[in-house]
């Protein structure tokens, strides 16, 4: 094996994404759920960069740049919401935060 084929990068990215999905669905700590979302965003970034390098198109890397900006904004807003919830309910357990559930 001289060169790593594109499919290896895609499989690694799919595996990371699946771990993130499993984490989001099963963890109860809101902050860890957020971290799993970051993991999933990163695995998508890996896919974008792999395609960008293999097809010789820099647009993929520019898109990753935007994804990172959105992820930073999302993390900041999400953590502010978590702080506001913690101030009111003294917990970040998502099973205790269900006032929006009818």
């Amino acid at each position: 094996m001289d060169q790593i084929p594109l499919s290896y990068y895609l499989i690694l990215s799919a595996a990371l994404f699946s771990i993130g999905v499993a984490g989001v669905l099963t963890r109860r700590n809101a902050i860890i759920v957020f971290m799993c979302i970051e993991l999933m965003l990163n695995s998508v970034n890996l896919t974008l960069i792999a395609f960008s390098s293999f097809f010789g198109n820099p647009a993929g890397q520019v898109l990753v740049f935007f994804v990172m900006a959105v992820a930073a904004a999302e993390a900041a807003v999400g953590l502010a919401i978590i702080i506001a919830i913690f101030r009111n309910k003294q917990t970040v357990d998502i099973q205790d935060i269900n006032i929006l559930k009818w």
């Binding site: 060169q3 790593i4 594109l6 499993a22 099963t26 860890i32 390098s53």
Partner: protein, 170 residues
């Protein structure tokens, strides 16, 4: 001797193991640290893909800024380890493993792994493509409008965070 496959396999395995550890640890601080390990591995893989600028940004923005924010909030809220609830503990883990595998298989089926020219290897122009110069040229010519919209998004996020985290919400 080409070292790239070895580097890829080692960093890929470390990335996967650290992701699994991140999801399974009870202590959120440990989770953050494993996620940082994962981000460093991804940065190495970006370097293998000749995306130098993105690799540096990954470490600076993700492992640096965003993860410090997470650590800050975890320590600010003084969270202990998640207390275990007896009921459904075992089932939850099984459910997670099953769902994770299902999503993974589904993605693999959806991929219909590419063949042909893409399999021949990284494009020869990739080395020049990942530089700051090349990314900047693309960003400031073809993608100037999305770039300006991003600045607006960051401003909105900044104002929103300050409003949300105030002691008395409006």
């Amino acid at each position: 001797m080409n070292l790239e496959p070895i580097v890829f396999i080692v960093t890929g395995l470390v990335a996967l193991v650290s992701a699994i550890l991140m999801v399974t640890r009870r202590n959120p601080v440990k989770s953050v640290l494993f996620l940082i390990v994962n981000f460093f591995c991804l940065a190495v893989i970006y370097l293998l893909l000749r995306a130098q600028f993105i690799a540096i940004i990954e470490i600076l923005v993700y492992a640096g800024a965003i993860m410090v924010l997470f650590l800050f909030v975890i320590m600010l809220l003084n969270m202990g380890t998640e207390e275990t609830r007896r009921e459904g503990k075992q089932r939850r883990g099984l459910f997670a493993a099953f769902l994770g595998t299902a999503v993974f298989v589904e993605i693999l089926v959806g991929l219909r792994l590419p063949t042909g020219e893409a399999e021949s290897g990284i494009s020869t122009s990739a080395g020049q493509m990942g530089t700051v110069e090349s990314i900047g040229k693309t960003l400031y010519t073809g993608y100037i409008f999305p770039f300006e919209v991003t600045s607006l998004l960051l401003l909105a996020a900044m104002v929103g965070v300050i409003v949300l985290a105030r002691r008395k919400i409006l």
